[in-house]
């Protein structure tokens, strides 16, 4: 069950330009957290910024009760977060949302991460490897130095391929090129993706073309984070004859089956 706790900062580490890895002591959250879920963080004690900030769970160490986050500083909230030091406490609600549906053990899965969207996929990959899934993580970024993971020296317990828009590392082009090569070649049983809207849209059309199921983790501006305010909706195919329906990213998501999402 989700809780709201004052979580202590165990470690704050800068791992790239504007990119941080934060470890929080939050055993009440790590206990039940699954990949694809997120936490909702109060970055300040005052009213500026007013709202909490949603950040995906990047990993957990259940033994130590530690929760890992990987985040990019893009504005006020994330900048405040990056200023938090070991020993400080942050209001953290979680685990929130519906995580990824796990595939049958042994199935081959591809994870597609665009930019910071890779954060929840690393957690997912780790769980999948433990379940004996064959995992390949594709990471896309604008350029080598903006890669959130997958840089030289980065070790992961799964296969990893990189694409950069400027060709400074790995494939020169969008990360979806790598996905297409896999789908056209050895194929995949399941694709999980998280990243910018354009990347997800392109991934959705590849999945449709190659008839592979997929799940996407979405981002939307949030109010409550718990399903109460209906702020964070995304457009999905409707149930029971309805042409479309707005669903809440914070509780019905952030992970949605790819085929339910409506792009426009």
């Amino acid at each position: 069950m989700a809780v709201d706790i004052p979580a202590e900062v165990v470690q704050q580490e800068q791992v790239g330009p504007g990119l941080y890895r934060l470890s929080l002591y939050a055993p009440q959250i790590t206990r039940s957290a699954v990949p694809g879920q997120f936490v909702y963080i109060r970055c300040t004690d005052n009213l500026d910024p007013l709202l909490r900030r949603p950040i995906s769970i990047h990993g957990v160490n259940r033994g130590r009760g530690e929760l890992f986050l990987l985040y990019q500083v893009v504005g006020k909230g994330t900048a405040l977060l990056a200023g938090k030091r070991k020993g400080e406490r942050l209001g953290v609600m979680g685990p929130l949302g519906r995580g990824f549906t796990l595939p049958a053990p042994g199935q081959r899965v591809v994870l597609v991460g665009g930019g910071i969207g890779v954060a929840p996929l690393v957690f997912l990959g780790q769980e999948l490897v433990q379940r004996n899934n064959q995992v390949c993580l594709l990471v896309g970024a604008r350029s080598a130095h903006q890669l959130p993971v997958g840089k030289e020296g980065y070790t992961a317990p799964f296969e990893l391929a990189v694409a950069t828009d400027d060709g400074s590392c790995g494939h020169h082009g969008p990360v979806t090129d790598l996905l297409e090569k896999i789908l056209a070649g050895e194929g995949a049983d399941m694709v999980y993706a998280c990243g910018p809207r354009g990347m997800l849209r392109q991934t959705a059309s590849l999945l449709a073309r190659y008839d592979v199921p997929g799940e996407f983790s979405l981002e939307e501006r949030m109010g409550c984070g718990v399903g109460a305010c209906l702020s964070c909706v995304c457009k999905t195919a409707g149930k029971g004859g309805e042409p479309l329906q707005y669903r809440r990213v914070c509780v019905e998501g952030p992970v949605f089956p790819a085929e339910q999402l409506v792009w426009d």
């Binding site: 069950m1 989700a2 809780v3 709201d4 109060r42 009213l47 500026d48 910024p49 007013l50 709202l51 909490r52 209001g91 609600m93 939307e220 501006r221 949030m222 109010g223 409550c224 984070g225 718990v226 399903g227 109460a228 305010c229 209906l230 702020s231 964070c232 909706v233 995304c234 457009k235 309805e242 479309l244 329906q245 707005y246 509780v251």
Partner: protein
């Protein structure tokens, strides 16, 4: 010192303390149940309910502004029948008056909703949201025109025996005139304020930040406007008031009570602190003890004295 009395009565709705939730910010209660003990709330006001389910507006529906948020949810809700069949049974397990916020496009919608909810066990009262666009009257809000507001209230009162709280919009030249009209039409209590009409622009995209262009401003930013509205209406009329708008702390809640509110509702603050309601209840109690006040009633409208 003996525990001070926090219980209040809003037009027959008996609340164990003056703190309730602002419609639309607390869902149907279940969403916040993991974080806060619903039994401790004075009452709950649920999300705005309409006759038929509503899909709501396209996203983005929310944007943060200084000490506030703009929202344009567009009344997405599963409809009154779903409320009665699913949400209400859940809430009935708690010792908690349930106030149903209702909204419609026409006077008839409001009357039909009031009739539908009349006599439904577990409903303690209605909050009539008259700040929604009135389709029949060409986009003018009911809440902006004293005559149409009064018409809605008369229709609702005619269709139910439940206590009727009428929720006023601050987007008017005189909230007192509006209050007078709806009280004259039979409102048992008033709640105020709904959101201020506002908007924000995404300068990179050169477009309104909300898909709906305009939205409602809530949060601490609007508190001074809300306290002023409560003060003015308390001064003009003798009717119980549920005050809201930017309440984050017990001190904020006490401003409304001293301005004349019998009860207060906590809205946007739930998003910041899911225990905002109970923290506020505790804070009010602490204040009463500190100041040697034995009954919250002594503070209602206290800033008008002397």
């Amino acid at each position: 010192m003996i525990k001070p009395n926090l219980a209040v009565d809003v037009a027959g709705i008996r609340m164990k303390n003056p703190v309730t939730t602002a419609s639309g910010t607390f869902g149907f209660g279940s969403e916040y149940a993991p974080f806060v003990d619903l039994n401790r709330l004075g009452a709950i006001v649920v999300k705005g309910t309409t006759l038929l389910p509503r899909r709501g507006n396209p996203p983005p529906r929310i944007v943060e502004t200084p000490a506030g948020i703009l929202n344009a949810i567009g009344l997405q809700n599963p409809g009154v029948d779903h409320f009665i069949e699913v949400a209400l049974p859940y809430l009935r397990q708690f010792d908690l008056p349930v106030i149903v916020n209702i909204a419609g496009d026409t006077v008839e919608d409001y009357a039909a909703l009031a009739a539908r909810l009349d006599g439904v066990p577990g409903v303690a009262g209605l909050e009539v949201n008259i700040s929604c666009p009135n389709v029949k009257k060409g986009g003018l809000a009911f809440g902006a025109d004293p005559d149409s507001a009064a018409a809605v209230v008369r229709a609702v009162k005619g269709a139910t025996r439940l206590p009727v709280v009428v929720k006023l919009s601050p987007n008017v030249t005189s909230i007192v005139r509006l209050a007078e009209a709806v009280v004259e039409a039979g409102a048992d209590a008033l709640s105020m304020i709904n959101t201020l009409l506002g908007m924000a622009i995404d300068i990179r995209r050169r477009r309104p930040a909300l898909a709906n262009v305009m939205g409602g401003l809530s949060g601490p930013a609007i508190r001074p406007v809300a306290v002023r509205a409560v003060w003015q209406v308390y001064q003009a009329l003798k009717v119980p008031i549920v005050g809201m708008g930017g309440i984050v702390t017990a001190e904020d809640a006490l401003e409304f009570i001293m301005a004349g509110a019998t009860a207060v509702a906590v809205g946007t603050a739930n998003f910041i602190n899911p225990r905002a309601t109970t923290d506020i209840i505790e804070g009010i109690e602490r204040f009463l003890v500190e100041e040697g006040v034995s009954d919250i009633q002594e503070l209602i409208g206290a800033a008008h004295m002397s």
